[in-house]
């Protein structure tokens, strides 16, 4: 690592508040900037989800109190359908891009990568801080778009044209959609900077002895996710710019001739709406794994630590991560089985999607075998990690239905899909944020998260998560479409309404439970029990730095790595854990004397 960083280590106390917390070059501060910002986004996006569920349980009902908060969107307390479309569009966009991507990849990635590989900082500290301050305007634009006339974008988080391209198609397609595109451009720019930084750091800045196959699975996963981001996002960048041109400069990339709106035929001609879907899902599917892979990495590391047992099948795990990463570029068409895409292509995507289930299954088997004959400690972190395994299995199995294209004919765009991705992608990733926070909190702030509150949060979240999304699968199988403002318009959906009410009640408890987490996070930050260097007796390199680590992480001496991070209950070792910095001779010495 450069001398500049070393010098800065010693001059840390001289840094101004601005250079320390606002424009910092310290990867840990930047990681926390990302994480805390993303938690605020999550609070907003979660509130939107509550409104969505409120409407679905009691469609068209009047809530006079809400009129005071949303006078334009809920006149007389009744939600307008166009507000509803904006709600789920912004819920999806904010959650996927501005909460989960930021928290898991940018937040934890920044915080953990240098600590886990033994670097003093990221390869490009300036670029790193720049990437954070690039995404902030994106967030502001997205959130601000909810308060303009005609509201935020309303064409869904995947923004399919023509709906997203034509101003008169839906109220959100006026200024809201333009702001959505601009917000996304900021996000993509930021994510690309971050991705390049992560990949460079992992390739070049590993400590002495930190070979690739001694890296923790968390680092492997974030490494792969960063590469996926760099390769996949350009497709959306191109698509977003083309959409912007279709909207404002008269081009027709996605717009065919003969579009008839409000007694007028639009002058566009020659475009193809399906082109957007291909571009979008070429990003969209890898994006799913960008969220899931870090969470899978956390699960492996946390389970291993709290099972006091090496992760089973490390090499298979690395291969599975890469297999998932590569295959994620070959499955985008399974979002388009009934889109009008050539059905022969559908067969190709069916096969690829079935193949991607294999590495995912292998990961689950490895986690189960890690649990077997372990010495399991149930903490907030390990409970959430176990929750991830359960939720991932549930979501993965419903994925098989959707991968089988003949079944997707019936299930596509129903609540079954909503339930499926909330389990496998949103749920696994959300639980990853909670598990990761509980596990690395002492490293972040030098204090422990309150375990009692943490466990209460786990139980409420876990039970209600199943309460929300398990019954939702039945709604989908019964044929309830997604994005319906009022499902009771359909006679065959009326009998299902009690299930919708049940889901909404669970969702409210789920939402309220997150306040416990928020409180616990900020309270423990200042008032939590003080933690030492290695409160979990874990092996990873990050646990050899002090809590919280100083700028430059390792003091005067760079760490040297002698082993992988999973030597728990190592035969012959004096304790049930062996940090990566302990050489074999030391164990032999300990055995002798």
């Amino acid at each position: 690592m450069s001398e500049a960083v070393l010098t800065e280590t010693h001059t840390e106390h001289k840094l101004s508040f601005f250079r320390r917390y606002i424009w910092s070059y310290d990867h840990k501060v930047i990681g926390l900037q990302y994480l805390i910002t993303s938690l605020f986004v999550a609070a907003i996006a979660g509130t939107l989800a509550m409104l969505i569920r409120l409407e679905l349980a009691w469609p068209g009902h009047s809530w006079p109190l809400l009129e005071k908060i949303f006078p334009n969107a809920m006149p007389n307390g009744v939600m307008l359908p166009e507000f509803y479309t904006a709600l789920f569009t912004m819920h999806g966009t904010l959650m996927i891009f501005f909460f989960l991507s930021l928290a898991l990849v940018a937040g934890f990635g920044n915080f953990l990568i240098p600590l886990q590989i033994g670097a003093r900082d990221m390869a490009f500290p300036f670029l790193n801080e720049l990437s954070f301050w690039t995404v902030v305007p994106g967030i502001i634009i997205m959130v601000f778009s909810m308060f303009i006339e005609n509201g935020a974008a309303g064409a869904g988080w995947m923004s399919y044209p023509p709906l997203s391209a034509i101003a008169q198609a839906v109220p959100g397609s006026q200024v809201g959609q333009t702001l959505w595109i601009i917000g996304m451009v900021f996000f993509i720019a930021s994510f690309t900077m971050g991705g390049i930084n992560f990949v460079t750091t992992i390739l070049n800045c590993r400590a002495k002895g930190m070979t690739f196959f001694r890296m923790p699975l968390t680092t492997w996963a974030i490494f792969t996710a960063a590469i996926l981001g760099i390769l996949a996002f350009p497709a959306l960048t191109a698509g977003a710019i083309m959409l912007l041109f279709d909207r404002h400069f008269g081009t027709s990339f996605f717009l065919p001739s003969g579009l008839y709106f409000g007694d007028k035929v639009l002058p566009h001609h020659g475009g193809v709406p399906l082109l957007w879907q291909h571009l979008f899902w070429f990003l969209g599917h890898p994006e799913v794994y960008i969220l899931m892979l870090p969470s899978m990495g956390f699960t492996s590391d946390i389970l291993s630590t709290f099972c006091r047992k090496p992760i089973f099948g490390y090499a298979a795990m690395v291969v599975a991560i890469w297999a998932i990463g590569v295959l994620s570029f070959l499955v985008w068409g399974h979002h388009m089985f009934v889109s009008g895409m050539n059905p022969y292509l559908g067969a190709f995507f069916l096969v690829n999607t079935i193949v991607i289930a294999l590495p995912s299954a292998v990961k689950v088997y490895n986690w189960l075998t890690t649990l077997w004959r372990s010495r399991l400690h149930l903490t907030t972190a390990s409970l959430f990690a176990i929750g991830i395994v359960s939720i991932f299995v549930t979501g993965g199995l419903s994925g098989i239905f959707l991968a089988l294209s003949p079944l997707d004919i019936h299930l596509h765009d129903t609540m079954f899909v909503v339930a499926h991705f909330h389990f496998i992608m949103a749920g696994a990733a959300l639980f990853g944020v909670f598990a990761g926070t509980a596990y690395w909190f002492p490293k972040m702030f030098g204090r422990l998260l309150n375990e009692k509150l943490g466990k209460l949060h786990f139980w409420l979240t876990f039970l209600t998560y199943y309460g929300v999304f398990f019954p939702m699968q039945y709604l989908g199988i019964h044929g309830m479409m997604r994005r319906l403002y009022d499902p009771t318009r359909y006679d065959y959906l009326k009998p299902l309404q009690p299930i919708n009410v049940f889901i909404t009640i669970c969702a409210f408890i789920l939402g309220a439970a997150q306040l416990i987490f928020m409180f616990n996070f900020f309270w423990s930050m200042w008032k939590g029990e003080k933690a030492d260097k290695n409160p979990w007796h874990a092996n990873g390199l990050e646990w050899t730095a002090s809590s919280p680590p100083p700028h430059g992480n390792w003091g005067d001496k760079d760490p040297v790595v002698y082993r992988w991070p999973y030597d728990y209950s190592y035969p012959g070792a004096p304790k049930d854990y062996l940090p990566q910095t302990i050489p074999e001779e030391e164990i032999k010495f300990a055995q002798k004397y």
């Binding site: 359908p81 166009e82 509803y84 309303g154 399919y160 023509p162 709906l163 034509i166 109220p171 065919p256 003969g258 579009l259 008839y260 035929v265 399906l274 047992k309 090496p310 992760i311 099948g313 490390y314 009008g340 022969y344 067969a347 069916l350 079935i354 294999l358 292998v362 689950v364 088997y365 189960l368 077997w372 004959r373 372990s374 010495r375 399991l376 149930l378 903490t379 176990i386 395994v389 359960s390 299995v393 549930t394 199995l397 419903s398 991968a403 089988l404 294209s405 003949p406 004919i409 019936h410 596509h412 765009d413 375990e451 199943y466 039945y474 199988i477 019964h478 359909y490 065959y492 209950s569």
Partner: protein, 269 residues
């Protein structure tokens, strides 16, 4: 490191997983799929097989997780096993899973081929479904089986589809707001959209096909039950998406003919 006092907690967690497994298994005794009214029985068979296979995995994995947590979180447990890998075991489960997945995938492919990649039968009835914010409308061809040319520039109150009057068959193309089909007769639905994406969804028929502006996409099936069925729009098409409900009436062949003749009679106004 706090001492593992897990047993009560582990018990609850294990109990939950086992409840989940039992609930997951039991809940499917109620038939959740809407009653089938078409010839797409293969889809239902594949669905139920997949349900059983994934159901078995779901129940076993969730209960194994539950059992392991309960069993291995006890305080008095011996040291954990140092067991980092087992190549034989890993190869075995990968291969076994692969066999099951490919069997299912192969069946899926076969079903997909017979549903989507076969030319429709020659005697199929042709009908067109047109999606527009926020309603479905339908067009039956002329007696000679022709759909007249359409031009959106000609759309007016009297000519809602923009039929080209120069085209001979435009005179007896039939425009309806609801769809009528005869039972047990194959039908090809040509699906179009006039403004944004829609999706022609017949929950009882296992039929769903997006309607894409600029494209005409055909899907074919055979209704097998007489009755009235709802048509949904499954693709977000704007603020009124939820109102885009259509009706399909499946009738005996005689009733169907009668209905179409009645609809074809010129009405004033």
């Amino acid at each position: 490191m706090s001492k593992p006092k897990g047993s009560k907690e582990a018990f609850f967690l294990a109990f939950f997983f086992i409840c989940l497994a039992v609930f997951g298994a039991l809940s499917f005794f109620k038939p959740w799929l809407p009653k089938l009214a078409s010839d797409r029985t293969g889809i239902d068979r594949l669905f139920h097989t997949t349900l059983i296979m994934t159901g078995v995995v779901f129940v076993s994995v969730q209960s194994i997780v539950g059992y392991f947590i309960w069993r291995f979180s006890k305080e008095k447990n011996e040291k954990a096993l140092y067991h980092p890998h087992d190549t034989k075991l890993e190869i075995t489960w990968t291969v076994v899973t692969a066999i099951f997945l490919f069997a299912l995938g192969g069946w899926g492919f076969k079903e997909w081929r017979s549903t989507m990649l076969q030319p429709p039968p020659k005697n199929a009835i042709m009908v067109e479904a047109i999606g527009q914010q926020f309603a479905w409308s339908f067009r039956y061809p002329s007696a000679t089986g022709m759909f007249a040319k359409v031009d959106p520039n000609l759309i007016s109150y009297k000519n809602p589809l923009g039929l080209d009057p120069k085209d001979e068959s435009s005179k007896d193309n039939l425009y309806t707001k609801e769809l009528y089909l005869p039972v047990n007769q194959p039908v090809v639905v040509r699906i179009r959209a006039m403004d944004v994406l829609h999706s022609f969804f017949l929950p009882n028929f296992r039929v769903k096909q997006d309607a894409v502006p600029g494209m005409t996409i055909s899907t074919s099936f055979t209704p097998t039950q007489i009755g009235d069925f709802e048509i949904g729009c499954a693709q977000l098409c704007g603020a009124g998406h939820y109102t885009m409900r259509g009706m399909l009436h499946v009738m005996s062949v005689e009733d169907y003919q009668k209905k179409l003749d009645e609809l074809r009679k010129p009405t004033k106004g």
